[in-house]
């Protein structure tokens, strides 16, 4: 379980997150919604340690992460897929997966872990030696998600995986995420701008606006038709 209590994040003088309180449970997908600049990325980065929280506490299963450096949090099972489809573009598909696996817990041998990835995404097997920068957007996102799962994380943080992808690819990726997290009781936090898609697979959601939580509830509550107008008001 991931718990944020009164977390504040600032970049120099600019406040990105104000007093965030959030709980994400194992086996559940927690959606974090909002327009650009709302603070979704800052929230995920704060959990992963890529940005330092100015105050408040971030705990996983009760263990305080606040002072822990990024790579050690990764060792503890926190795995972040950053926004903007970030990959090691100059490296091949397999090399990317190799790095992700090498610095993970290595419970499964690489060859086996690799096969699992290729089973879920056969296209990656076809392109295994190609430079990841040359893949299409959807394929890159598959690779990113696989780089996260190959580390067998307990806490999966995904920042806008659907960005710029066709709905059918998004379905595929989201399906994979759901299946993976259900079977392993992973705690998933999914930041998305596209509320509709995220709410289809999420169990609960938080809506951010200007760094604050302005709405929260179960996915069913948020999906109700009359809530949509509230949502768009939150965005626009």
């Amino acid at each position: 379980m991931i718990e944020l209590k009164n977390v504040n994040v600032a970049y120099g003088n600019i406040k990105a997150l104000h007093d965030i309180n959030l709980i994400a449970r194992p086996g559940e997908i927690t959606a974090v919604l909002g327009a650009n600049g709302a603070g979704k990325s800052s929230l995920l980065k704060a959990i992963a340690g890529a940005v330092q929280s100015a105050s408040g506490s971030i705990t996983i299963n009760g263990e305080d992460l606040t002072r822990m450096p990024t790579h050690l949090r990764a060792r503890k099972g926190v795995s972040l897929a950053m926004e903007g489809r970030r990959l090691f573009r100059g490296l091949s598909v397999e090399e990317n997966l190799s790095i992700a696996w090498s610095f993970g817990p290595r419970r499964t041998p690489f060859a086996q872990a690799l096969e699992q990835v290729y089973q879920s995404f056969p296209i990656l097997k076809e392109r295994r030696h190609g430079k990841s920068g040359m893949l299409s957007g959807g394929q890159q996102q598959m690779l990113i998600v696989s780089s996260v799962t190959i580390r067998e994380p307990q806490y999966m943080l995904l920042d806008e995986p659907s960005l710029g992808l066709a709905p059918i690819i998004v379905q595929q990726i989201f399906g994979f995420i759901t299946h993976y997290s259900n079977s392993r009781q992973t705690t998933v936090v999914l930041a998305e701008q596209m509320a509709a898609m995220a709410l289809q697979i999420a169990d609960q959601g938080y809506v951010l606006r200007h760094g604050r939580i302005v709405m929260q509830g179960t996915a069913d509550e948020l999906k109700k038709a009359d809530v949509v107008s509230q949502l768009s008001a939150a965005y626009l």
């Binding site: 970049y11 806008e160 659907s162 701008q193 596209m194």
Partner: protein, 619 residues
């Protein structure tokens, strides 16, 4: 602490101090021995050298590890002109200086294209190349044996204009020359030319956005710096009467850098202190020679960590970059009518504000037509057309990656279009350099405000008027009356701009000491000084507090009232809602909505782009 530093600055900069110092230096040699006179002469030379590298590295931000090269060219140039061409000494010194200036200008061409450590390597290469040429070109430079018998007071062979010059006379010549050069330098640095050098150091891209031609400015910096170093070299040749390659090694380049850095780069007084310290120490401390390298090494290791502003920065407040006289003429506060102002200066200011006027024709000022921009397989802007009209504020919004910033970058000349047109007042400008587009009245700001951190708010804002200055470099260096008038006019206008932007209270505070909101407003104010017809603001609201947002909105409305066209890239919907006339929404590089804010909120395509929720259209 600060009060002490300000007092020290006042004393150091006071005309009385300078006159006393000059007098003391003039008369001192008459009562002392020859070696002291020589030492004092070396101090003068090192002051020139330190100032030369200061201008290039400290002010313009171009690191140089090869200044010994310029020193050498000036020295050998002048010596050869006297020895081989029989030129009179004064002419030879000027000649050596001129040759060095030309070489500096030429070096700027390749050097201006690279930055940071590539530049450090290139300048090292230049310095080493000069050294090799001196060492090996036996026929001309005498190679390792060197050039001897150069006219000099040491050899009692120096005559100028028919008069025999001895050591003391030569020192006095150096003193006068150094004083003149320092005076010219100070005037230059305090002029808009000098401030442009600082702008290049702070951010070349931002400098281009207010119309500063980066390549040309760098060439100027290189040639002036080279000229001063060459002058020092020419004087050196005639001081010692003998030249050998050992005086022009890489260590000499390092020494010159150390002098400037330790003294304090970016100021006038810093290099003087550094030069004095590093000329005096090695000669007085015999033991110093053995430890010289170690000491230099240690100094370089710690100076940037401990004393970023050098010795001068530690003891004194640096001189500002606007002539004090102009500031006093205009008055230091923005409130109320400035006292004792030049009547013509006030008029110039008024007319430049009024000339903005109101445009009533509806033809678009800036248009993009079917603009496409590709980056290695990714299409960032995919056939966008939009038009900006005078006196209207247009918002450009869209989800991440929709192409908003890229569009503005193309329109402002940072990128060239892959296809399509950018049209300003009916003329195609697509593909022109950013400074050229800025010169035609299109100014933009950046997501991350790029200002000169060591300047005050006022000095930063004044940079915006760069294109409107007419004074030449020589006029500025001589501080002719017209130059002062021009400064005053722009200062008056800056005061008014600061009033509108709510910055009057912090006008003379250093930018780096102010919170983010002030920097943002300063950047917008700087853009206003440029008096553009089209102003493009890239996410100006990000990170501002409620109060600051209000002020920003007022500023933008003011700009609109002046008949300008404003394009606003924003995510902050509330902020945008209150001030815009039109909204254009981009998604994946294409326009998906044009109209007003309320329509945008209800538009199904927009809602789908943002939320992914398909909406049945309803009203």
């Amino acid at each position: 602490m600060n009060a002490l530093r300000q007092t020290v600055s006042k004393i150091l900069g006071h005309p009385a101090t300078i006159i006393v110092a000059l007098l003391v230096l003039w008369f001192w040699p008459a009562s002392t021995d020859r070696s002291t006179v020589q030492l004092l002469s070396f101090v003068m030379l090192n002051i020139l050298l330190a100032q030369s590298i200061n201008l290039l590295t400290g002010v313009a931000g171009q690191i140089s590890l090869g200044h010994a090269g310029f020193f050498a060219i000036g020295a050998y140039g002048s010596a050869l002109l006297v020895k081989s061409a029989g030129a009179p000494v004064i002419a030879a010194i000027f000649g050596g200086t001129a040759i060095t200036a030309v070489v500096g200008w030429l070096l700027a061409v390749p050097a201006g294209r690279v930055k940071e450590f590539y530049l450090a390597m290139m300048t090292s290469g230049f310095g080493l190349l000069c050294f090799e040429i001196i060492k090996e070109w036996n026929d001309v430079t005498g190679g390792v044996m060197g050039l001897s018998g150069i006219a000099s007071p040491t050899l009692k062979s120096l005559t100028i204009l028919g008069m025999k010059i001895d050591g003391i006379d030569y020192f006095r010549i150096l003193l006068v020359a150094a004083a003149i050069v320092l005076w010219l330098l100070r005037n230059f640095i305090q002029s808009h030319h000098g401030r442009a050098f600082f702008a290049i150091q702070a951010s070349e891209i931002a400098a281009g956005s207010i119309g500063i031609d980066q390549a040309r400015t760098k060439r100027r910096a290189y040639s002036i710096s080279a000229a001063i170093a060459g002058l020092a070299g020419a004087f050196y040749a005639h001081l010692v009467g003998y030249l050998g390659p050992d005086s022009f090694t890489i260590m000499r380049s390092v020494e010159v850098l150390v002098m400037a850095v330790v003294g304090g780069i970016g100021t006038i007084i810093g290099p003087i202190l550094g030069a004095v310290l590093f000329t005096y120490l090695p000669s007085k401390l015999q033991a110093f020679a053995a430890y010289q390298f170690m000491v230099y090494g240690l100094i370089l290791m710690v100076v940037f960590l401990l004393f970023r502003k050098g010795f001068a920065g530690a003891i004194a407040e640096p001189a500002r970059f606007i002539p004090g006289r102009a500031l006093r003429a205009v008055g230091l506060t923005a409130a109320g009518v400035p006292a004792r102002v030049d009547a013509s200066a006030a008029q110039t200011a008024q007319s430049s504000v009024a000339a903005a006027g109101h445009q009533t024709d509806a033809a678009p000022l800036l248009e993009v037509r079917d603009l496409v921009k590709r980056f290695a397989g990714l299409v960032a802007v995919d056939g966008v057309s939009l038009a900006l009209h005078p006196g209207r504020i247009t918002a450009l919004i869209g989800p991440n990656g929709s192409g908003k910033s890229t569009l503005v970058n193309v329109a402002s000349g940072i990128y060239t279009p892959s296809s399509g047109q950018v049209i300003l007042r009916g003329k195609e400008i697509g593909g022109q350099a950013s400074h050229a587009i800025a010169a035609q009245g299109v100014i933009r700001t950046f997501q991350d405000p790029r200002l000169v951190p060591s300047f005050t708010v006022r000095e930063n804002i004044l940079l915006g008027a760069h294109l409107r200055y007419r004074s030449s470099m020589i006029a500025s260096a001589l501080r002719l009356p017209g130059v002062m008038k021009e400064e005053q006019a722009h200062l008056l206008r800056a005061t008014q701009v600061m009033e509108v932007a709510g910055l009057s209270g912090v006008a003379d505070q250093l930018l780096e000491s102010l919170p983010y909101g002030y920097r943002r407003l300063t950047e917008v104010a700087r853009a206003m000084m440029a008096d553009p017809d089209v102003l493009m603001l890239d996410e100006p609201a990000a990170g501002l507090s409620e109060g600051e947002l209000g002020r920003l909105a007022e500023v933008i409305r003011y700009i609109k009232s002046q008949g300008k066209s404003v394009l606003l890239i924003e995510h902050h919907m509330d902020f945008v809602n209150d001030i815009v006339d039109d909204v254009v929404v981009l998604d994946s590089g294409r326009v998906i909505y044009r109209g007003d804010m309320s329509g945008m909120r209800r538009d199904p395509a927009v809602i789908e782009a943002y939320l992914g929720i398909q909406q049945v259209a309803h009203d």
